[in-house]
Symmetry: D2
Subunit: 337 residues, 4 copies
Amino acid sequence: MSCVAEARVIVAGASGYTGALAARLVDRHPLFALHAATSRSDAGRSLDALYPYHRVGLVLEELDLDRHGEVEAAIVAYPHGAAAPVVAALLQRGVRVVDLSADFRLRDRAIYERWYGEHGAPDRFGEAVYGLPEIYEAQVASARLVANPGCYPTATLLALAPLARSGTIADVVVDAKSGVSGAGRKATETTHFVSMDENFVPYGVGAHRHMPEIDQELAALGAAVTATFTPHLMPLDQGELVSCYVTTTEPWSQEQLDGAYEVWAERHPFLEVVDTPPGVRDVRDSNVCRIHARADERTGKVFVFAALDNLWKGAASQAVQNLNLMFGLPETLGIEP
Amino acid sequence: MSCVAEARVIVAGASGYTGALAARLVDRHPLFALHAATSRSDAGRSLDALYPYHRVGLVLEELDLDRHGEVEAAIVAYPHGAAAPVVAALLQRGVRVVDLSADFRLRDRAIYERWYGEHGAPDRFGEAVYGLPEIYEAQVASARLVANPGCYPTATLLALAPLARSGTIADVVVDAKSGVSGAGRKATETTHFVSMDENFVPYGVGAHRHMPEIDQELAALGAAVTATFTPHLMPLDQGELVSCYVTTTEPWSQEQLDGAYEVWAERHPFLEVVDTPPGVRDVRDSNVCRIHARADERTGKVFVFAALDNLWKGAASQAVQNLNLMFGLPETLGIEP
Amino acid sequence: MSCVAEARVIVAGASGYTGALAARLVDRHPLFALHAATSRSDAGRSLDALYPYHRVGLVLEELDLDRHGEVEAAIVAYPHGAAAPVVAALLQRGVRVVDLSADFRLRDRAIYERWYGEHGAPDRFGEAVYGLPEIYEAQVASARLVANPGCYPTATLLALAPLARSGTIADVVVDAKSGVSGAGRKATETTHFVSMDENFVPYGVGAHRHMPEIDQELAALGAAVTATFTPHLMPLDQGELVSCYVTTTEPWSQEQLDGAYEVWAERHPFLEVVDTPPGVRDVRDSNVCRIHARADERTGKVFVFAALDNLWKGAASQAVQNLNLMFGLPETLGIEP
Amino acid sequence: MSCVAEARVIVAGASGYTGALAARLVDRHPLFALHAATSRSDAGRSLDALYPYHRVGLVLEELDLDRHGEVEAAIVAYPHGAAAPVVAALLQRGVRVVDLSADFRLRDRAIYERWYGEHGAPDRFGEAVYGLPEIYEAQVASARLVANPGCYPTATLLALAPLARSGTIADVVVDAKSGVSGAGRKATETTHFVSMDENFVPYGVGAHRHMPEIDQELAALGAAVTATFTPHLMPLDQGELVSCYVTTTEPWSQEQLDGAYEVWAERHPFLEVVDTPPGVRDVRDSNVCRIHARADERTGKVFVFAALDNLWKGAASQAVQNLNLMFGLPETLGIEP
């Protein structure tokens, strides 16, 4: 393993919630070294000033590819649209990249453009591996560019994969809930403490950008459905729950479900299949996704609940999981459950 | 209106959250007088000691029908099962009753017994009017016994009534969320601050007692479905949101929906139909239910979101609304939006 | 009372937390009519869009003295510095004003300028009555301009008045805590939900603008001290607690304290002296200040705790209390405890 | 280091918040092995069922000294009074003990009995080392029994040590705030979510058991004062802040203070002296205590603010820090900042 020891990693866009957490996880990783953390808006401030609890003393710098491009890998945490050119430039220099934005998640460029506008690096479009390691482990291992999934798609796909693969999903309603950190670090009327304290509110109804991503990946697994998906903001910091209500083409017994989900979890160290519905607190500050599946006799539907931490498994720690695989390391290294 | 002026009202079971709030609302009501507030567990303590913010100085007493039965009306806030005998005894004395428990909500005794066990006053079973004033206003006005609806059925029925009446509901998923006050005043592992802080958790999955109530009333409105219903606990005090995903037998345009919901709201002072999804904070400490209906082109489904305060419109202020109607008063008296 | 019936009131600066609440309280007041609510930043939006829970449908307008100056009274909720010229213009037109800013609270102009900079209406400096009705009731009743106190001075002075008047305060430490609404509606890094959730933090250490105001008023009552005052932000919306630790020149027994505080409270409907320390929740959404005084044998000090709602008694409802007095009305009208 | 490798440790009383966290920290420690975790109330349940986020699968057992006494060390997390006999029995078998209760913290038995009642193991009284490693490092290293300090004394002493040692403290007011986990796992009216949500409340006014502990240790450092100490409950889970207002016998300049606190921190890896007041979030889930000291010119006082996590540095991780020292290990092992 000497070849990978001390792989240098930069985090580009480290002043936001997910980038900062990625920087912390890389900084503590036994075989990665945090070479630099960059930020346009906060260059010159130390990460410790922004996020004391991460205890990373590094001073944020402006990204300078000449200085920062001489590394083995990069985690890019730029906004959608802004990420693509930076990712392309890093790839050009031979840097392996995990991109936290949505710029490389979709496989159909027309769909990308409908939801996000023009693409910033069309030549690279389609080169990325969709970085949900529980599904694309082998492809991630040999990838140069990994598109880290959105937090909602991560939870939804981990919840539904066994059902989707069985080809028995006729229809699915995904009622999703996220902590406020999912809305990003920007101070807005929505993210003001007084707006969200003692509040709970649906948003993005009918038009959330994670919809095409969910549909694309459900289809890839074998479920050609248009998923009903509605996110809500919860009055808490970190955490995400998806409550999935599945109409199936064939009935599932609880025993069949239990069997399918056991098989699903046993090969994946970060999946915990449990026999009571998970709370988001159960997985806080971890890369774990906790899942509960239930065959509901009353309605004939299958219910699946999946909880994860939107900043961890929904973003930064999943990026490290991908990086581990890209470097031939155990996927749990540095982010053990 | 002189005949109803100063109608004396007792609140039986006033140490719980809903009973205490009912006592406060009666105490401030221009035409009701709070004659007594009773409690087994906390007799001798003043309501002010338990709930300073209600500012009701009355000392809680043990219920004594000889002393407390000489009133015009009672709000009973006993646990399910315990309520029925007290309600029956009050009716026997000619007292008009609004019962906050589930003991008289269901019309089919077999269904009651399956979910709650033996009934405590079988002779009275079936005498009650289901106290959702927006639907049963006329019947409430002439009732001696009103069964105040559960908080989830209130929100769900107010959300779905126009669709149910149209006869076009083929299937419906109700993903419901409640503040912790909905779990009651009892101190348990679940209601401990540390358990719920930064948490969000499904409960009663597949078997919540509000299910038969929702199905009964949806059927009465014209929707003979088995609703999928799953409640969750949110890390906040008061508030409730139901997110309803309706599969319809015929397509609805947004215009048709808007028309139907406008008609629905315009006759009811506590319904607010709005053009963006409501947050639970919008209706805190009020008898208002705020509703948003959306025809979703992507999935062909109709989405309806309804927010209310589980302790107010979901319980205590709705009880006062019912009492207003039973005494021929404007339904908004003392609980103006 | 016919002369005051329907006094027209404008609220200038109604898009902030305190102005919006003032607008709601005026709107529901039995003898005031909300003539207009103004805002520079949000003109054209309805108050209901900003604060659905206030249920005030009025559309915010740009302030136009020609149209808005023809009223009996105004509540001005402008930032410090910006308030003075508007207040002066309103006074010029004969409008009675309650000013929520700090522009007219201080009596020493040099001190004002040290803390706030140049004054915007020096001719009017010194004309205002300091609007703490529990202390300056008579003066408020005949005032044309009332300077509504800061939230912290309100709590501190209500807590300490009996001790200050006794002339026995040798030294006092005031450790103060406020909900996040006290930091205002502006979206900043500090007021972001993620910054304050699960957090508690001192601020303004050694240099908070309420210091000279507290010292000025303590001195006026008879305590010529430099109070130690440190505010902290709490992870909640509305609420304020001051914990006061008083070194006295003479010992106080609990009986003496109880006597002094009973006398203090019995003349003031909004003061509640209680025998256990108050929580901020006890006074939420009310004009009440709840106070507990304790003679501590261990240390010889006197402890006083006072809780209020920073948006209500700390600002908007106290403004209405002042307005009531200025119009010869009962001070509790429209803001009954 | 081979002699200490794999030291077996039991945690007695692991179903409470601090015991469970201690079990987790021992379980992940590179040189300790979690031999057993015991609980009377929850024997038979797995720790994972109680605290999923700790990810410790061990099943709780009834304490059985014959089976559990054959270990190198124990962390005892029993209630005050109940701890002493168990501690004595473990010592008797040669087990090194860190006791999280107050049973061995005080050096004066009369004072112990006044605050806690009769002692459960008077023969052992006085044998313990007070386990604040930043002060008693050498003594801890050779101790068989360490009395882990209370959370408030830990924060207070770390805040005040440099001043106390200088002999210049004339008087001190400590206004302390703790998250609800500090009130323990027992479900009570006080710890109910609805009681503490949006609340903030003083408690233990004038008579909190940490008072004699604070005074004893301040005296040991050189400050013979009766500290004014008042704790408050905050509406959050984990976190503690002490705001200390010190009247000094001689004036301190900011430079002198900075110097003294730099010296204090530089020898202790868990102390962070910072130039702005810390929030409790800055130290969440860590063994760090963050301190800010300020010479206040206005009042002539010295202010010191110290933040820690009451379950970590205030209890469980400090116990591991002590255990590290007792086994000759680096104090940071397994609890690195």
